[in-house]
């Protein structure tokens, strides 16, 4: 039987990879994917805790998180498409007219 802490550790590793992905990648789409990875790892932790508690509440929270993530992705990609039309780029570093 794998201990819950092992799952938490795994989710922490995945979470950190997601965080680093947002920090180091310049392609907006990959940054979005990194955010998805972060959410996904949080879900893993939730489900692991759910088993440890022998309750399904954590799983239901996961369900909501997936729905919210889908909504966020939809809006984000729509936004990206309309920005791309203006500037033909998905490199986030080119999107920096606002500063100071």
């Amino acid at each position: 039987m794998i201990s819950t802490n092992a799952y938490v550790l795994l989710s922490a590793i995945l979470f950190t990879i997601g965080v680093v992905g947002v920090l180091v990648r310049r392609n907006v789409i990959i940054m979005f994917m990194s955010v998805e990875l972060m959410l996904n790892s949080a879900n893993l932790a939730l489900i692991a805790f759910s088993r440890a508690r022998a309750e399904s509440d954590g799983q239901i929270m996961t369900f909501f998180v997936i729905a919210v993530a889908a909504a966020e992705v939809a809006v984000g990609l729509a936004l990206l498409v309309s920005i791309f039309r203006a500037k033909k780029t998905t490199n986030i570093d080119d999107v920096n007219t606002l500063k100071g």
Partner: protein, 174 residues
Amino acid sequence: METFLFITTAIVAVGAALAMVLSSNAVHSALFLILNFCSVAILYFLLRAPFLGAVQVTVYAGAIMVLFLFVIMLLGAENAELGEEKIGWQKPAGLILGVALLAEIGYVAYRGTKLIDAPVADATNIGAPTTISAKLFSTYLLPFEVISILLLIAVVGTVVLTRRRVVAREERQS
């Protein structure tokens, strides 16, 4: 058996995640992310969450990632990072912070309360669709309904954000 499965899947998941962050081609990234999602879905099955595992594969790895792939193809954004890195320190700094964060979270997980290692015997059903649906439509009815509003907002928002261009063009022509 379970230990073996866990270790293999965990390695695949971490490897896929790393590959997702590291690969320069966005299409590859997306595919690696799908791999990661699928391996995490296997873990969900191990964790007595078959329903969520299925949702993970169909909705997450299926629908959402297809949307990603679609947009990548549409915009031709596979290699958006061709230009020179403008913030040279960002990568090393990100890595250092990542390591620091991982160290901290790892330490937290190590120091924190050890949870009940053995799952309670009657935890078998916690992830069954019936259990989930029963809870979802009673205890969690309210958030469930509000999620529908949230999705509606997303739909309206998507329309607003993408339709704009057309309106503007029409106006210019007239």
